[in-house]
């Protein structure tokens, strides 16, 4: 049986994700998404990945979702749409969800494929792992500037490319023709 905090945040995450999927108002969906991302960040904290939890809140729940909200308010009418509910696709979605959920429950709970070691237990063969799990941000810094230096540079360059791409994409097409 998992501990109370995990159950609380798992329920929060799943509830907020359901709000994202089910709400007919795009802004409400975005609010559900923010709550779900915060729930996942809390789960990162429970997994001792504090740095990633902070990063998740700052980058995802903060910057990315603000961008989403801006575009939603710019492009969609926030009023509830009056058109009929798409029953056909809703039935398909329900079927897919139950299929996947049943698969996840079977694979992770009943099939016994996942070893049930608690977080405190250290397998003997992994205790000499050079990149052992470090909770502090220092552990990230050391690995990012040694073993993962090239990926780090590529990620930085990717951000630059994305920046240039967004600027060129959002240029006014009317202005371009003139």
């Amino acid at each position: 049986m998992p501990d109370g905090l995990f159950i609380f945040f798992a329920a929060l995450t799943l509830g907020a994700a359901s709000l994202l999927v089910l709400s007919r108002n795009a802004v409400t969906s975005a609010m559900g998404m923010i709550l779900a991302l915060v729930g996942v960040a809390a789960d990162f904290f429970l997994l001792d990945a504090y740095f990633l939890g902070v990063l998740q809140v700052l980058v995802y729940a903060g910057a990315v979702m603000v961008l989403f909200l801006f575009v939603i308010m710019l492009l969609t009418d926030t009023a509830e749409s009056a058109e009929g509910y798409p029953w056909k696709s809703a039935a398909l979605g329900l079927a897919v969800f139950f299929f996947l959920a049943a698969g996840a429950v079977w694979l992770f709970v009943w099939s016994g494929a996942v070893p049930g070691t608690a977080a405190g237990a250290t397998p003997a063969e992994l205790s000499v792992n050079p990149g052992e799990f470090v909770t502090a941000a220092k552990g990230f810094g050391r690995l990012l500037y040694t073993k993962y230096l090239l990926p780090l540079e590529i990620a930085g360059f990717l951000l630059l490319v994305a920046l240039v791409g967004v600027v060129s994409l959002s240029k006014d097409p009317v202005e371009e023709n003139a």
Partner: protein, 102 residues
């Protein structure tokens, strides 16, 4: 923390992924579909962090760091594309963007 096992975290990630995929299939608003895609990505990162933690290795966590970076860039470009699409077609509903089908 003692009694929360790897299986619990994986189950949460699996259910989140299922919800995200359901949203991608059901929703018609492109922006909501995009948010559901992000939810699926987040579910995958949750599974990665869980595996990383329970195997006592740092590689999965570093992988998640890069995934967050790439996802931020991807969201910026994707939203710019959706805005450009709206300028051209005047809609972000996927059942109204059927030029290729008609």
């Amino acid at each position: 923390m003692e009694h929360t096992t790897l299986a619990h975290h994986l189950l949460l990630a699996g259910l989140l992924f299922a919800l995200g995929l359901t949203g991608v299939l059901v929703r018609r608003n492109l922006l909501v579909v995009y948010m559901c895609l992000e939810l699926m990505l987040t579910a995958a990162t949750l599974a990665l962090v869980a595996f990383s933690r329970f195997n006592r290795t740092m590689d999965g966590a570093i992988f998640v760091f890069f995934i967050i970076t790439v996802a931020a860039a991807e969201v910026a470009v994707g939203l710019a594309l959706i805005v450009a699409l709206y300028r051209r077609r005047g809609s972000v509903k996927s059942d109204e963007l059927v030029t290729l089908r008609d």
